[in-house]
């Protein structure tokens, strides 16, 4: 040691995150979540053995933002693409990054079957209750009463159904080893999101099965809100409909039961706000 005082960086960009500026809107939490995924990859030393699968949505360019090998998948098919990679190269750590339109609408079949096969992949699922990229149309995750480009009078349950609770559904599959829902609306919750993502990757590293973290996220642009309003909307409107917690954990016995989570979701009130 040449110096008694070690330089300890308080803050520096994760090495797994590319040094380019992203195209995300101001206040969009896609950026924060990217950073967290990259931090976890750094911490677990995954950059050299990971293959990330970008999906179709605002995060389509994720293949430009991470330093590991990347593939870009067709809309909704990222879990199938990840399956193809993982099955032929099981030594790799394979993860997908998907929006709610991608994963919970066009790609429900792929994600459910990946979970039931116990596919050893990690899914980062961004639930922002809307189709961001295409200009703010309704998603299966859109809240009752939420106004979007295709639900101009608010989502009507009798016409287009109720918000989908994908994590609760997936937790029922035996192949699912770790399923959690977290939020991004304040630093404490970002910290919990980080812990969940780390746990999800560890689940894969230990060969336990399918892992997914659903992350309640913002889309200030299409919600017609300021970034601060958007974070508040997540906390006040989304969290009651989408209860946070761990729905399945191969390690702990204390995982919250999906049935309890479902009941909590049912009792949630219709949302206000949204464009």
């Amino acid at each position: 040691m040449s110096s008694i005082v070690e330089r300890i960086p308080v803050y520096e960009p994760p090495k797994s995150l590319s040094d380019v500026s992203s195209h995300y809107c101001p206040g969009c939490t896609h950026g924060a979540t990217h950073r967290i995924v990259a931090e976890v990859m750094d911490e677990l030393g995954l950059t050299d053995k990971a293959v990330g699968i970008a999906s179709v949505g605002c995060s389509v360019l994720a293949y430009n933002y991470f330093e590991c090998d990347m593939q870009q998948a067709a809309h909704g098919r990222a879990p199938a693409v990840a399956t193809g990679v993982k099955r032929v190269r099981p030594e790799l750590v394979v993860w997908t990054y998907q929006g709610d339109g991608d994963l919970a609408s066009i790609g429900t079949n792929e994600v459910i079957h990946a979970a039931l096969r116990g596919e050893k992949i990690t899914v980062i699922f961004i639930n922002n209750a809307i189709y961001g990229m295409t200009g703010g149309q309704a998603a299966p995750t859109t809240l009752i009463g939420q106004k979007t480009a295709t639900t101009p009078f608010g989502r009507d349950k009798s016409w287009s159904g109720s918000p989908i609770h994908l994590s609760e559904m997936l937790a029922l599959q035996e192949g699912a080893a770790f399923i959690a829902r977290t939020s991004t609306h304040n630093p404490a919750h970002l910290g919990r999101t980080r812990a969940a993502i780390k746990r999800a990757f560890q689940t894969q590293l230990e060969g336990k099965g399918f892992s997914l973290v659903e992350i309640l996220s913002t889309c200030p642009t299409n919600w017609g809100m300021t970034p601060v309003e958007a974070l508040k909307w997540v906390e006040e409107q989304m969290v009651p409909v989408y209860p946070l917690g761990i729905f399945k954990d191969w390690q702990a016995d204390g995982a919250r039961s999906p049935a309890a989570a479902g009941a909590a979701a049912k009792s949630a009130k219709p949302a206000e706000g949204g464009k």
């Binding site: 098919r77 193809g84 099955r87 079949n109």
Partner: protein, 367 residues
């Protein structure tokens, strides 16, 4: 799981095998190490064969939840640098088109098998050739081409499958085997090669950086118009190269031929029988049998002898390849068409009658 003893058929000597199973074995011998599929008649023996044989070769067989998933698993595995195949029949191949377009756009090598049945819609499980347009003209969205092979015998199915893997790797492009239900179900003696497949380096594959290189990206998205056009120009240059290098066909034109028949796959075998019958009756008839359906063997139509008065195209469709025949001839000769549909196939006697019409040996036929 312990590796089971190999049930591979012997190489270098004739063995009797069903088309679909021989195709699977050929893929394995070509170094195919992953197969993703979804059940559909009349190709189901192929996935069943792979389910049994792949574990013996340390390969992957996985029954996907749909054809959509299967083709995207192919995308992932091809992107990760292994030889991979999927198979289906007509309706399933329709579902795979988006994925095929992505595979072509991202320049991934893969082999896709279509054992065609009658359409449109759910159609029937009986054989057909009505996916020719879909296979050779694009199928999915965007400007791309597939090398498409139309085998006529089980041996050719084997040889072309092995060739398909090599061509796919050479051009980093998907290749399609376009067979029909008769060929898939038929048993014939085949000889498998004994030589091992060549190892192909794939430095572009997403195999994990492993501390040895920068990251690799498999992608077909180019948001800037100039970049996408440049990408397309690169693809077009590759397709042009495939177009000049990958043509294969059989051509038998006897001296004094009056009519030349054009047919591919199983239909060509029926046509050969009809040609033999015509010969008995003193009518000399030639045959052009495209083996690569894309690139189409235009050159086979260039120097036909002066004795040829017309061309007769025979297909198990309403007339799809006949359009390429007309393009190749560019108006030089009249082109007749005879086709059966819906799972019916032409029989030699009926083809003979059409040959006679084309030769003007029957009254009332305009030439």
């Amino acid at each position: 799981m312990t590796k089971s003893a190999s049930s591979a058929p012997a190489g270098g000597v004739p063995v009797l095998m069903k088309g679909n199973e021989a195709l699977g074995e050929a893929a394995i011998r070509a170094g195919c190490r992953a197969f993703f599929g979804y059940p559909i008649t009349p190709q189901s023996e192929l996935p069943a064969y792979m389910a049994r044989r792949m574990p013996e070769e340390d390969g992957v067989f996985l029954q996907a939840e749909s054809e959509l998933a299967a083709i995207n698993m192919v995308y992932g595995a091809a992107g990760a640098g292994v030889r991979v195949m999927t198979s289906s029949s007509s309706p399933g191949i329709s579902l795979k088109q988006e994925g095929i377009s992505y595979i072509a756009g991202a320049e991934l090598p893969a082999v896709i098998v279509n054992i065609m049945r009658g359409g449109p819609g759910l159609g029937s499980i009986m054989p057909g050739q009505s996916d020719y347009f879909q296979a050779t003209k694009g199928g999915g969205h965007g400007d791309y081409r597939l090398v498409v092979y139309g085998p006529a015998t089980v041996q050719e199915l084997v040889d072309l499958t092995i060739r398909a893997f090599n061509v796919a790797d050479r051009y980093r492009s998907p290749v399609m085997i376009l067979g029909d239900g008769i060929l898939g179900q038929m048993m014939e003696p085949v000889v498998f090669p004994t030589e091992k497949p060549a190892e192909v380096a794939k430095p572009w594959a997403t195999t994990g950086r492993q501390g040895t290189r920068g990251r690799n990206v498999v992608n077909s998205l180019y948001l800037a118009a100039e970049e996408l056009e440049a990408h397309n120009l690169r693809l077009q240059a590759k397709f042009a190269e495939m177009h000049s290098n990958e043509v294969i066909y059989e051509s038998i034109i006897p001296e004094g031929a009056e009519v030349v028949c054009v047919a591919y796959g199983t239909t060509a075998r029926v046509v050969k029988s009809a040609i033999a019958m015509a010969r008995q009756e003193g009518i000399k008839v030639g045959l052009i049998r495209p083996i690569s359906l894309w690139p189409f063997p235009d050159e086979a139509f260039v120097n036909l002898p002066d004795t040829v008065r017309s061309v007769l195209t025979v297909e198990m469709s309403a007339g799809q390849m006949v359009e390429d025949v007309r393009l190749a001839l560019n108006g030089r000769l009249p082109v007749h068409f005879y086709g059966r549909m819906g799972g019916m196939w032409p029989i030699p006697r009926d083809v003979l009658a059409e040959i006679k019409k084309a030769a003007g040996r029957e009254a009332g036929v305009a030439r």
